[in-house]
C-alpha cells in the first residue's frame, strides 16, 4: 500500500507494512503461487477468552480483562472478523502454512458450524497444489478441551467436519487439552457445577479419538498445582493412549506433548516435584521393554526425539530467537481485528495495529497503534535478554515466554527467577539422568551437530563439575 509519509504516524504505518510484508505476506504469497515453500509462518485467530473451564494456571483466568477486554470479547462478531480475514487471504492469494483457532473455548455448536463453513470456503478457493492431505502442508489446528463432547451434535460435527475437509485433502488437527485423570480435577475445574471429570468422560474422549479420521494429540500442562500428581498421571496417560489408539508404549511419544506452565508461582517444593517427575519419566521409559528395554542408546534416541517435548529445548536449533511459535506465526485477536505479538502479550501497549475495514472488507491497511513490541518480539533472541545472556543453561533452555515474563516482571524481556529455576530443574534432571545411564558424553557429541557455534560453551558447561545440580540443590537449601 502506498502511503504518503509526512507524519510520524504515517511513517510508522509504512515501515510496519514493510515489516509485515517481509515477515509474513511475501512468503504467504509465494506459498500460494508455488505450494512448495518451506518455513512459512502460520496464522492464528484468537477468537475469544470465554471458556467453559477456569484452569488455575490460565493467563486468561488471571489477566483476561486486560488481554481480551469485555467489549470486544464477543464470539459472533469475532467469527465474522475471521471471515473477513479469510476473504482477504483469498482475494490477495495468500496462503499461510496453517491456520490455528485459539481461545478460550466458549463456542457453541452453531458458532463452530459457522467457523467450519467459512474455513471450508477458504479451503475450496485454495489451489489444489497446496492441499496435500498432511499436517505439514496447509492444515487447520483446533485445540479442544472436549468438555462439550457429551453433546452428541457437537461430537458429530467435529467428526464430520474433519472428514469433510479431508475430502478436500486438508487436515484438521484436533489437539486435546486435558491434564489427565489425576490432574484435571485440581488444575482444570469447569465453570459448570454439573460437569465432573469421571471415567465415563475419559471413555467418551477416547471413543471420540477413535472415531476421528486423523488421530488427535494430547497436550496436558504440568503446573505448580498438579505437578505432584504427575507420576501417577503419566502412567495413566500411557495406558490411556495405548488403549485409545491400540499402540505400544513406544508410540506414546507421538501423541503426547507435555508442556510446563510458565507462571511465576512455582515454589521450591514444586520445582523439586518437577525434577523428580522428569527423573521418574526417564526411568520409566528406560525400563519399559517396548521403548528402551534398559538400552542406554535407545534412551538417547528418546531424548533426541524430544521426550514428550521435555527435551525439545536442548535440541532446539541454535542460534535461536524464541522456541515458541511467536516468531513463526501472525496472531490476530479477531474480536477487534488487532494484530498482537501473541495471545499472551495482547496488553493495550503492545497492540501493534488494527486491520482497516471498509464496506465489510479488509482494505489491506493496518492502522498502527504500538507496533514496537511486535517488531521486537519477532526479532528477539532470548540469549540477548538481561538475565538469559549470562545464564548457565542458556544454550539448553527452551527460553522464556514473553507474556509470562511480563506477568511476573512487567517486562517481556526479563524472566522471573522462579520460572528460570523451574527450567533449570528440567535441564538438570535430564542431564543427571543421562549421567546416571552413562550417555552424557554421547549426548554431548550429538549436541555438537546442533550447536556448531557454541559447542565449546556446551562442553564447558556439561563437563563442569559445578553443573552437577549444585545450583539447584543450593537453591533448594
Amino acid at each position: 500500500m502506498d502511503l504518503t509519509t509526512e507524519t510520524f504516524h504515517q511513517e510508522e504505518e509504512q515501515w510496519y507494512h514493510q515489516f509485515l510484508n517481509i515477515h509474513y505476506l511475501a512468503s504467504w504469497k509465494k506459498n500460494y503461487k508455488t505450494g512448495k515453500e518451506e518455513n512459512i509462518p502460520s496464522l492464528e485467530f484468537t477468537l475469544s477468552r470465554k471458556c467453559n473451564l477456569k484452569c488455575t494456571y490460565c493467563y486468561y483466568t488471571r489477566h483476561g480483562k486486560e488481554l481480551y477486554p469485555d467489549p470486544i470479547d464477543r464470539v459472533d462478531p469475532s467469527i465474522a472478523n475471521c471471515e473477513k480475514i479469510l476473504e482477504y487471504l483469498t482475494r490477495e492469494k495468500l496462503a499461510p502454512s496453517r491456520i490455528e483457532i485459539f481461545g478460550g473455548e466458549a463456542v457453541s455448536r452453531d458458532q463452530y458450524k459457522k467457523l467450519f463453513d467459512i474455513l471450508y470456503s477458504y479451503v475450496l478457493a485454495l489451489p489444489t497444489r497446496l492441499k496435500k492431505r498432511t499436517s505439514t502442508s496447509f492444515s487447520i489446528v483446533f485445540p479442544l478441551n472436549v468438555i462439550f463432547l457429551e453433546d452428541r451434535e457437537y461430537y458429530d460435527l467435529l467428526i464430520q467436519e474433519q472428514k469433510k475437509f479431508l475430502e478436500q485433502n486438508v487436515v484438521i488437527s484436533y489437539s486435546i487439552s486435558f491434564d489427565g485423570k489425576y490432574c484435571d480435577p485440581i488444575s482444570r475445574p469447569a465453570h459448570s457445577s454439573t460437569f465432573e471429570y469421571s471415567d465415563a468422560f475419559y471413555s467418551l474422549v477416547s471413543r471420540f479419538c477413535k472415531d476421528l479420521a486423523i488421530p488427535a494429540g494430547f497436550h496436558p500442562m504440568i503446573s505448580r498445582d498438579n505437578v505432584k500428581y504427575w507420576k501417577n498421571n503419566i502412567d495413566w496417560f500411557f495406558d490411556y493412549i495405548k488403549d485409545t489408539y491400540s499402540v505400544t508404549s513406544k508410540d506414546v511419544n507421538r501423541f503426547l506433548y507435555l508442556l510446563e506452565v510458565r507462571n511465576e508461582d512455582w515454589s521450591l517444593e514444586n520445582v523439586k516435584d518437577f525434577y523428580d517427575f522428569i527423573v521418574y519419566i526417564i526411568d520409566k521409559i528406560f525400563e519399559d521393554p517396548d521403548i528402551c528395554n534398559k538400552d542406554p542408546d535407545k534412551l538417547l534416541e528418546q531424548i533426541k526425539t524430544r521426550l514428550f517435548n521435555l527435551s525439545s529445548g536442548i535440541f532446539a536449533y541454535i542460534p535461536r530467537g524464541l522456541t515458541c511459535s511467536l516468531q513463526t506465526c501472525l496472531y490476530v485477536r479477531t474480536g477487534d481485528l488487532s494484530i498482537i505479538p501473541c495471545h499472551r502479550l495482547s496488553y493495550p501497549s503492545f497492540i501493534a495495529g488494527k486491520f482497516e475495514v471498509q464496506e465489510e472488507k479488509l482494505t489491506g491497511r493496518v492502522i498502527t497503534e504500538f507496533p514496537y513490541m511486535h517488531l521486537a518480539s519477532v526479532n528477539t533472541n532470548f540469549q540477548t535478554h538481561a538475565d538469559c545472556s549470562s545464564c548457565e543453561i542458556r544454550s539448553l533452555c527452551p527460553g522464556p515466554c514473553l507474556g509470562a515474563n511480563y506477568e511476573a516482571t512487567k517486562d517481556p524481556f526479563i524472566a522471573s527467577p522462579a520460572m528460570c529455576r523451574m527450567e533449570k530443574a528440567k535441564v538438570f534432571a535430564i542431564l543427571e539422568s543421562c549421567k546416571k545411564y552413562g550417555i552424557l558424553d554421547t549426548l554431548i557429541s550429538h549436541l555438537k551437530e546442533y550447536s556448531t557455534g557454541t559447542f565449546n560453551e556446551y562442553r564447558r558447561f556439561m563437563l563442569s563439575k559445578s553443573m552437577q545440580v549444585t545450583l539447584l540443590t543450593q537453591s533448594l537449601e
Binding site: T5, S349, N379, A386, D387, S390, K410, P417, R421
Partner: protein
C-alpha cells in the same frame, strides 16, 4: 537503606508554562498536589521520607525537579538552615535545578533561596540551568507561556546578582529543539543567522548554548533530512555547539579509544549513556518511593522504574531471587535483604538491556532502511548501520521515554534514528574525521 551520591527530588507538582515537548502532565489535580507538597517541605515530612530511604551520609548532590522547582523554593528557603543541613544532608556539596525563569516569581524565589544558602555555615555550590530555546520565533512558540525577552532579562538580572553577591552559583543555559526548529533553520538562512547571533550573544555573556534534541520526539524523515542539512551548515560555520550528533560521535569515538570497549559489551551503556539514572543518581517521589530517575515521578506507567514496588511484585520477583543471581547483581552495600533484592533487580534489568536493545535496534534500522526512511547508505553499509544503532542506543537512551512510548524500556520508537540517519550522522562523522585528520597532520 539505599545509597546514592546524587538524589533527584520531585520538588514541584506543577509548572507555570506548558512546553509542547514536555512529558509532565498539566491538570488541576497537580495544583492541589503541590499545595500538599509545600506543606510537607515546610513540616520537613518531605525530607524525612528522603532520609528514611537513603543513607544521608552518602548524599552529596541534590537535584530539584518538577514541574517548575523554583515555585517551591520560597518555602524551602524558610527551613534551609545549618541544623537542617546537618540533620538531613550532612555531606551535601551541591544543589542543582533547572528553571524556565519565565516569571518574576521564579527570580524572587531563587533570591530567597540563595540568601538562605549564603547564610549557611557550610559552603554549598548551586547550579542553575535556565531553559532558553533561542530567539522568540523558536522559544515563544514551543515554550508556551514563556517569552524569551523576559527570560533573558531575568537571566541578566540573576547573572548580575550572582557576580556580585552569590559567587557559589554556576549558571548554564539549555536550549531544546524538536523537529520543527530543524526544518525551519535548515531552509531559512536568515533564521539560522539569527540563532547564531543569539548563540554569540549568550556566549559573550559566558553561557554555552548547546542544543539538545527533545526525546523521544516524533521525528519524521523530513525532520531528519532537515537535521542533516542543518548539521552540515552549523559544522561548516564552526557552530558545533548546535550539533548534538557531532557531540555524540566525538564521545563515542573517545569512549572506544579510551576504553577499548567492544560494542557488544553491555556496560558500554552505562559508560557512554548521557543518563546517570541508577548509576550515580537515584530519585525519590513524594510518596517516599524510590525511582531510577525523576522521569517516572508523574507517569502512570513506570512501575518498573520504581525501586519500591508493591508487595506482590516483590513476592514475584524479589523473594524468588536465587543466590547466583544475587551474587552477580550490582547492589549497594548495607541495604536490607529485601531492598537489596529489589534494587539489584531494577538496576540489573536496566543495565543489562543493552544487548536486547541492540538486537531490536538493528532489526528496526534495517526495516527503516528498506522502507526508505533512512539514507541509502544504511542499506548498503553494515558498519554505518551499526554506528547509527550505537549512537541511537548509547548516546541518547532514555528508559523512561521508551517506556512511555513503546510500553517497554528496552524499545524506542525509532524517532531518533530517523533524525540522525538522514544525513546528520554522515555529516557529523565526516566532520569528525576531517578534524582528526587535521590534528594528525598538525
Amino acid at each position: 537503606m539505599l545509597k546514592a551520591n546524587n538524589i533527584s527530588l520531585n520538588f514541584s507538582e506543577t509548572c507555570n508554562i506548558s512546553c509542547t515537548y514536555c512529558f509532565v502532565p498539566h491538570n488541576k489535580e497537580a495544583n492541589h498536589l503541590n499545595i500538599r507538597l509545600r506543606e510537607d517541605i515546610l513540616s520537613l515530612a518531605f525530607f524525612d521520607r528522603v532520609v528514611a530511604r537513603f543513607d544521608k551520609q552518602e548524599i552529596e548532590y541534590l537535584g530539584l525537579w518538577g514541574g517548575e522547582p523554583t515555585l517551591n523554593l520560597d518555602v524551602f528557603s524558610t527551613i534551609l538552615t545549618d541544623s537542617f543541613i546537618s540533620d538531613y544532608f550532612p555531606n551535601l556539596k551541591n544543589i542543582h535545578f533547572s528553571t524556565n525563569l519565565s516569571k518574576s516569581i521564579s527570580l524572587s524565589n531563587i533570591y530567597l533561596f540563595l540568601e538562605a544558602v549564603k547564610k549557611l555555615e557550610k559552603p554549598l555550590t548551586i547550579s542553575i540551568q535556565t531553559s532558553i530555546d533561542g530567539p522568540a520565533f523558536l522559544h515563544d512558540i514551543h515554550r508556551r507561556g514563556s517569552e524569551v525577552s523576559t527570560v533573558l532579562s531575568n537571566l541578566e538580572n540573576l547573572q548580575g546578582q550572582v557576580q556580585t553577591l552569590y559567587p557559589f552559583v554556576t549558571l548554564t543555559v539549555k536550549p531544546t529543539y524538536s523537529g520543527d526548529e530543524y526544518v525551519l533553520l535548515s531552509s531559512n538562512s536568515e533564521y539560522l543567522e539569527a540563532v547564531f547571533a543569539f548563540s554569540d550573544y549568550l556566549r559573550n555573556r559566558g553561557h554555552r548554548y548547546g542544543v539538545t534534541s527533545a526525546i523521544p520526539g516524533r521525528y519524521t524523515v523530513k525532520d531528519g533530512k532537515a537535521y542533516g542539512v542543518f548539521t552540515q551548515k552549523v559544522l561548516d560555520r564552526g557552530y558545533s555547539n548546535f550539533s548534538e550528533i557531532y557531540d555524540l560521535v566525538q564521545k563515542l569515538f573517545q569512549r572506544v579509544r579510551d576504553t577499548k570497549y567492544h560494542s557488544r559489551r553491555p556496560d558500554l551503556l552505562t559508560a557512554f549513556s548521557f543518563c546517570s539514572a541508577g548509576n550515580s543518581s537515584l530519585a525519590i517521589d513524594n510518596t517516599g518511593a524510590a525511582h531510577l530517575c525523576q522521569g517516572t515521578f508523574l507517569s502512570m506507567l513506570g512501575e518498573e522504574m520504581r525501586i519500591d514496588s508493591p508487595k506482590d511484585k516483590l513476592e514475584k520477583v524479589g523473594l524468588s531471587f536465587d543466590k547466583t543471581a544475587l551474587r552477580t547483581a550490582i547492589s549497594p552495600a548495607n541495604t536490607s535483604a529485601l531492598e537489596e533484592q529489589m534494587y539489584s533487580y531494577v538496576i540489573r534489568a536496566v543495565t543489562r538491556t543493552a544487548l536486547t536493545t541492540m538486537n531490536y535496534t538493528k532489526s528496526f534500522l534495517k526495516i527503516l532502511a528498506i522502507s526508505n526512511q533512512l539514507s541509502p547508505i544504511y542499506k548498503e553499509d553494515e558498519d554505518m548501520l551499526n554506528l547509527l544503532a550505537a549512537i541511537v542506543i548509547f548516546g541518547k537512551y532514555c528508559i523512561n521515554s521508551n517506556l512511555l512510548t513503546t510500553g517497554a524500556f528496552e524499545l524506542h520508537t525509532g524517532s531518533l534514528a530517523k533524525l540522525y540517519g538522514n544525513g546528520a550522522l554522515e555529516a557529523a562523522l565526516s566532520h569528525h574525521l576531517k578534524q582528526q585528520h587535521k590534528k594528525e597532520n598538525a
